[in-house]
């Protein structure tokens, strides 16, 4: 889910927690050295944190349910459709 913080790279500046578009981080400097992603399911995946992190410590991971549905574009330009391809494979 959402932002993944590399705690080795994070310098604890708190920028991500401050600018987050969805307020999903919590950073209690008394307790934690780096911010915590407390509300991951509320991430918009806008990448503001990735873009503004001064140490490049954040990457974004999309939930599997957000996967982009796509096919090989060549299928749109041939007589072969995914269905016919799979049925041929099944017969062979």
């Amino acid at each position: 889910m959402p932002p993944v913080i590399d705690h080795e790279k994070c310098i604890g500046c708190g920028t991500c927690a401050d600018i987050c578009n969805s307020d999903i981080f919590v950073f209690d400097r008394k307790v934690d050295k780096t911010p915590v992603v407390k509300f991951p399911e509320e991430c918009w995946h806008c990448e503001s944190c990735v873009l503004d992190c001064p140490s490049g410590a954040i990457t974004l991971r999309l939930p599997l349910s957000y996967s982009l549905m796509h096919i090989d574009a060549s299928l749109l330009h041939s007589s072969q459709t995914p269905c016919s391809a799979s049925s041929k494979e099944a017969r062979s």
Binding site: D18, E41, W44, L68, M69, S74, L76, P82
Partner: protein, 564 residues
């Protein structure tokens, strides 16, 4: 009771630090207003739908389009931005638009990345292209910087949860300081207020991923801001006419006009009539014109429909990726790169997203003032003033100026003493004090279920008097139950609970307006009135909450453009 901070004063209080709010702040300060306050729910540098960028700015540029504004105006009114909007306001906007573009250019937003003014996308072949292609990736930082230069005061992490109205006129607001886990109330006395909270998401079940309500095309934290105006009696317009956007499936992102390709069926046939090959200047405008196309082709069994960019040149695809970055779609680009999805080799399926209040909401004058004196609105939350970046910039600019002039004529009043402000403080405090109760997500999803079932968007799903009346009863029941049961644990969840209450008010306004529109128009399909009534074509339906608690609807004439 949640602690209350000392009241602050603002000549102009701006609610929301997006494009509309920031332009209002700059405009007001330049108009002589010395005490401009921006209260932003998150952080103005990265908040809202323009957080990481945008790339289309609706405008008329004489040196590019020629001396006649009318063809560009016509295209604007037929576009997603202008459809169903107030022609008088839209015409004034278009005349002013190049001035706004030049301001942004001067301040440092990259408005002509190629060195020239260039319009691309969202366009019909052979017709004037009305959308300037720009790189908005730095737009928020630039506008915040300009506002700060002029002495505008920013309060980030301060969502406004209620407005105050005294003797008919706006008097201030109640915000919550959520910068720490323990919330504190922040009352504000204001001579004028400008609402710019963006569009409203999370009212309907999220189409791509119903279990994940933050997977939305625009910013999902823009949710219910119209409800703030609603509760102090500001009238709403176009609430009943559903707006739906479209984009990639299942990762919801706007920016469909940035893709340089053709929508095709599985057999390669183009879905629309506008192009059969990729075109960098026009794109494929099919889904702008045929709003429900991706849902329709699935329902007919002829779908799905894919965005096919495989015939675009490498240079055009490089341009497309650059434009997506300027539009703030780096997460989409990075995901595609990581997943090995290459537009040259892969066709991505597109889908229709859920209904949102985009360009649905507050009814404003051509200068951006609502029906409540002293209360202005700008941006996607406005119902009759168009939507998108350029309109947000325009209404922010005009509203900020008009508000600054008004502020000079009025004095501060004790907004914090208003009964509704005190009542909201007590209500929100009760959520925090409650030992056990319902989560805000439960309430939000319950509302989404009701709205999706009883006020759905057409063309296949219908509304009727029975459905809408039932939905209205259910939303009111839900609100009553939510007020009694919601429990929050910290600043963050308190903010979400307040949003959900705003969303319920938006739902009530929508349902009441949909009941009153006794005809079928656009995606508002009334099973009991299955025709479009030409007599209603030149009128707007407004809906409002009266001071006695009654919800009223009224028809008013649409203001036509006064061409030069």
């Amino acid at each position: 009771m949640i602690a209350v901070k000392p009241c602050i004063e603002a000549d102009l209080l701006i609610v929301g630090g997006g494009i509309g709010g920031l332009m209002a702040a700059i405009s007001a300060a330049k108009s002589g207003c010395t005490n401009v306050v921006v209260m932003e729910k998150m952080h103005a540098r990265r908040s809202g739908s323009g957080a990481t960028g945008n790339d289309h700015f609706n405008c008329y540029i004489p040196s590019y389009h020629g001396d006649d504004i009318r063809p560009v105006f016509q295209q604007t009114m037929q576009s997603l931005i202008g459809s169903g909007k107030e022609p008088s306001l839209m015409y004034k906007f278009l005349k002013k638009s190049f001035e706004l573009v030049q301001m942004w250019d001067e301040w440092g937003v990259n408005m002509r990345p190629t060195g020239q003014w260039e319009c691309k996308g969202h366009a019909l072949p052979g017709k004037p292209r009305a959308f300037l292609k720009y790189d908005g990736s730095e737009q928020k930082k630039v506008l915040v910087r300009e506002a700060k230069k002029l002495g505008v005061h920013f309060y980030n992490h301060h969502p406004v949860v209620e407005l105050a109205r005294m003797d008919g006129r706006i008097a201030g607001a109640l915000a919550v300081d959520i910068s720490t886990p323990v919330p504190q109330f922040q009352p504000v006395r204001a001579k004028t207020v400008l609402l710019a909270t963006g569009l409203t998401h999370r009212l309907y079940l999220t189409a791509p991923t119903p279990a994940y309500m933050f997977n939305t095309g625009h910013c999902p934290n823009c949710a219910g801001g119209q409800g703030l105006g609603w509760r102090v009696g500001a009238r709403m317009v176009n609430m009943e006419l559903p707006y739906t956007h479209a984009g990639p499936k299942y990762f919801a992102r706007c920016g469909k006009a940035t893709w340089i390709g053709v929508y095709r069926y599985m057999d390669g046939t183009p879905v629309g009539p506008f192009t059969d090959h990729s075109n960098i200047d026009y794109g494929d405008v099919t889904s702008d014109i045929w709003n429900s196309v991706f849902e329709d082709v699935m329902a007919k069994g002829t779908g799905p429909a894919f965005m096919d960019c495989s015939d675009a040149s490498d240079k055009d695809l490089e341009y497309m990726r650059w434009a997506m970055k300027g539009e703030g779609l780096t997460s989409l680009l990075n995901y595609m790169a990581d997943a090995g999805i290459d537009p040259k080799q892969h066709a991505v399926e597109f889908m229709r997203y859920e209904p949102i209040l985009h360009g649905r909401g507050l009814d404003v004058s051509d200068e951006g003032e609502t029906s409540v004196p002293g209360l202005f609105a700008a941006g996607d939350m406005v119902g009759n003033g168009g939507c998108g970046i350029a309109l947000a910039a325009y209404l922010g600019w005009e509203g900020g100026h008009a508000a600054a002039l008004q502020a000079a004529e009025h004095s501060f009043r004790p907004a914090e003493d208003c009964p509704n402000i005190k009542a909201r403080m007590e209500l929100l405090s009760s959520f925090l004090e409650r030992e056990d109760g319902a989560d805000w997500k439960d309430a939000n999803m319950a509302l989404q279920q009701i709205m999706s079932d009883y006020a759905p968007a057409g063309p296949r799903k219908v509304r009727s008097e029975r459905l809408l009346q039932t939905g209205l009863i259910y939303v009111r029941q839900l609100r009553e139950n939510a007020m009694k049961q919601l429990k929050v644990t910290c600043s963050h969840t308190l903010m979400r609970a307040a949003e959900v209450l705003d969303l319920m008010d938006c739902g009530e306004a929508l349902l009441a307006a949909a009941l009153a529109r006794k005809e079928t128009r656009g995606n508002h399909i009334r099973a009991d009135f299955p025709f479009t009534n030409p007599l209603l074509g030149d009128q707007f339906l407004t809906v409002g909450l009266e001071s006695n608690g009654e919800v009223t609807t009224k028809w008013r004439p649409i203001r036509q453009a006064q061409m030069d």
